[in-house]
Amino acid sequence: MGTIMKGDLTAGETGDAPRGAGAFEVHLDVFEGPFDLLLGLISKHKLDITEVALSKVTDEFIAYIGQRSGGWDLDQVSYFLLVAATLLDLKAARLLPSGEVEDEEDLALLEARDLLFARLLQYRAYKEVAAVFAGRMAAAARRFPRRVPLEPRFAGLLPELLWTIGPREFAAIAARALTPKAPPTVSVDHIHAAFVSIREQAVLIAGRLKGLGRASFRQLSSGATGNYEIVASFLALLELYREDVVAFEQVAPLGDLYVTWTGGDREIRLAPPGARAGDQQTEPDEEDYT
């Protein structure tokens, strides 16, 4: 149970767990999470949590993540990355010349810092109170409660149990108790993911383009009911481009994208999804799509 906090972070009155001042270096790998590590680093530099020399702590934090290989689980990595990213953000903000202008990014950084440190302070509070718990438990363990069976003369007086179940009901209870509990799962029922078929979109767009000859992407996707449908339209266009039935034109960067039908009377029949998975990324992609 190696706790790594220095004296200033522990309630320090438990007197039970070995808690050496040199424990920091030795037990580096016992950090349980990013808050744990960050607090450890801050206390190592004897810094006030609200005036941390960010760049130094950030470097060590990143170095720690770099050192660790294997043994990560996804959960841990994401927590660590979140904290590391926030720290890096803050460090970058410090390194840049600080102008007078408070633009939105600056504000966001300030918020990120405050939030990170607020959460860190909160974590430290629970850590301190955990030390109080340990002390109280150690003290309470020195007293033993009386917990002995009833004297025989009284045991016989217990009111007779009301017993209403038979062997079959009893077996059913046993089966339920002995069946492993299903591991908790996150319900995704509330996410109404509407699936949009790129092939359907392609056929739809091809039909419209044949009629119009030329149209902007804005125009083509104007009927979309959600972002996912716009994305599908865009992917469908890429598929059509691959089939060599459309041409793109964009006059200015971030300007409107115009699509021209070049396929004449060709019928559109795309391969089923998944047949060419990954092809999309390798497609030449010069245009600056908006």
Partner: protein
Amino acid sequence: MTRDFTAEQPQDSPAGDEDGPGLRACLEAILLVADEPVPEVLIAQVLERPRHEVADGLRALAREYADDGRGFDLREIAGGWRFYTREDCAPLVERFVRDGQEVRLTQAALETLAVVAYRQPVSRARVSAVRGVNCDGVIRTLVLRGLVEDSGTDPETGAILYRTTGYFLERLAMASLDELPDLAPFLPENIEDIEDNERTRA
């Protein structure tokens, strides 16, 4: 050694007439057979005495044991009264009791327990957010140890909520959760903001 019989109650009360045992003896006898904390109300019912009389009697008895340096002690823990061995007899009792040793909790378990204690009822996700690390396994261990229990589900998210148990109070020698040390001095002022933020993320 006390020879002080002032603890004997007046004659007119039901459980302590001239012939019968006095209040002190009754309390001692009942607590001797109890194997879990006995609430004052229950004792008052059994003895058919007003609750405040019972409460006073129990406190007087506890004081008497302490003053006389007895090997046992009467304490109000987890919502009731119970006999405990005196603290400075611990080394001897430990030698005598075979399986009495409680397993010590890890740092992770203690921290998780602390978050549950102050935030209860609380979901695993919330606890994980506060600690910055996944706490599912630790909470399962705390449930298995009887320190924490399921207390229903969150009506909004459907997540299982957890709270501390009576055994938790026993392990910390507390009469009730009101005795938890105040967390405020340790916490940043804008704690509300954190809470809100967590809620959206958790």
